[in-house]
């Protein structure tokens, strides 16, 4: 840990804490999950960077959406995302959440995940290599450092529109709104 690091720790412990302790929700959303076990086990050992799978969304601050998102999964993703405490970061893993990827014409997968929840970073590829996850993590560090990983703020501010999109894709959602919607005609 060099002097620069210590200075950063003293200045903004919150940011640094979030950087080096990214607990990812354990959610096998799609086929990208197959590369998560190698990443968290002996070969790549993500725990070196403080990345750890968390059993419950309450404990996590990173949501790695691994692969295509079917409509049914989207509901679970939204529920899980809303249960995570703020600040929280989302990373889309693989091509499918970006634009539908291979399943661009499937009737049951949603194509652009960022229409429904905010995404802080993307990892392209099908399937991205484990190293790509580390690149994403280090990139996320930079974003956190610069204060650009503000997806959760965006979600809070534009909750009305997000909720509208979610209900367009899923029909009426059972659970009450997470935030009061400020201005309907924004």
């Amino acid at each position: 840990m060099d002097r620069n690091q210590i200075k950063k720790w003293l200045e903004s412990p919150g940011k640094m804490g979030h950087k080096y302790s990214l607990w990812a929700v354990y959610f096998c959303t799609g086929c990208g999950i197959i590369e998560i076990p190698p990443v968290i086990t002996s070969r790549w050992d993500a725990e070196r960077f403080g990345v750890l799978p968390a059993p419950s969304p309450r404990q996590a601050n990173l949501f790695l959406i691994t692969g295509y998102v079917s409509v049914k999964t989207l509901k679970a993703i939204i529920k899980t995302y809303e249960q995570m405490p703020e600040p929280k970061y989302t990373v889309g893993f693989g091509s499918c959440p970006i634009n539908g990827g291979m399943y661009w014409d499937s009737y049951n997968t949603i194509k652009h995940l960022d229409k429904y929840i905010p995404i802080d970073g993307w990892i392209a590829g099908c399937m991205p290599r484990p190293e790509a996850i580390f690149i994403a993590v280090t990139h996320l560090w930079t974003l956190i450092d610069k204060g650009m990983a503000k997806g959760y703020v965006k979600y809070r501010e534009n909750y009305g529109r997000y909720r509208e999109n979610q209900e367009k894709a899923l029909g009426k959602l059972e659970w009450p709104r997470l935030f009061p919607i400020k201005d309907e005609n924004e």
Binding site: K72, Y107, H112, K115, K154, E157, N158, N165, A169
Partner: protein, 170 residues
């Protein structure tokens, strides 16, 4: 699959055609009311493994073709050696409108999820099925999605592409 078996089948069940193209996948085509009886007969003959139930939508003929794939497990004292190599394709055709069929659960218990799936994806109703609940789908589709007249690409354009992106306010 030998000739005797073919003859036995044809003698018991009228109006069926048994077509032996290769050694391992004989095809039996039968009418809708006979399906359960044939399945039971095949099961008694040792073909006790329902591999799956498939469905093909022949749009031009306005018919659904249901395919029951039945094969045999190994037996200790195998009466007919080589039986386990055979997979019988039992086919039946039903009308596309008013698509209804008796369930095969009384014969093969594992028909349940297959029939649920076909009900959901093709809209075929299986009478007597204990739980024809949705299996895979969350959204409701006007036309069951696996029918040939359901255009997936059109649907994507209509539904998912029309949802706007959420841009930050400036």
């Amino acid at each position: 699959m030998n000739k005797e078996f073919k003859q036995e089948l044809e003698s018991i069940f009228r109006d069926i055609t048994v077509n032996i193209t290769d050694d391992v996948t004989p095809v039996i085509a039968a009418a809708k009311p006979q399906i359960l009886a044939i399945l039971r007969f095949l099961k008694d003959k040792g073909y006790g493994h329902l591999a799956m139930i498939s469905c093909v939508d022949w749009l031009k003929e306005a018919q659904f073709e249901l395919v029951y794939l039945v094969s045999a497990y190994l037996k200790g004292d195998n009466e007919e050696p080589g039986q386990e190599k055979i997979t019988i394709l039992l086919k039946t055709r039903i009308d596309r409108d008013n698509a209804e069929l008796p369930t095969a659960i009384p014969v093969f218990e594992n028909a349940e999820p297959y029939e649920r799936e076909i009900h959901e994806l093709f809209g075929i109703h299986f009478t007597g099925h204990p739980r024809l609940l949705p299996l895979f789908l969350e959204r409701e589709y006007k036309i069951p999605p696996f029918r040939k007249d359901f255009d997936s690409r059109e649907y994507v354009k209509e539904v998912f592409d029309k949802i706007p992106f959420v841009e930050d306010k400036e």
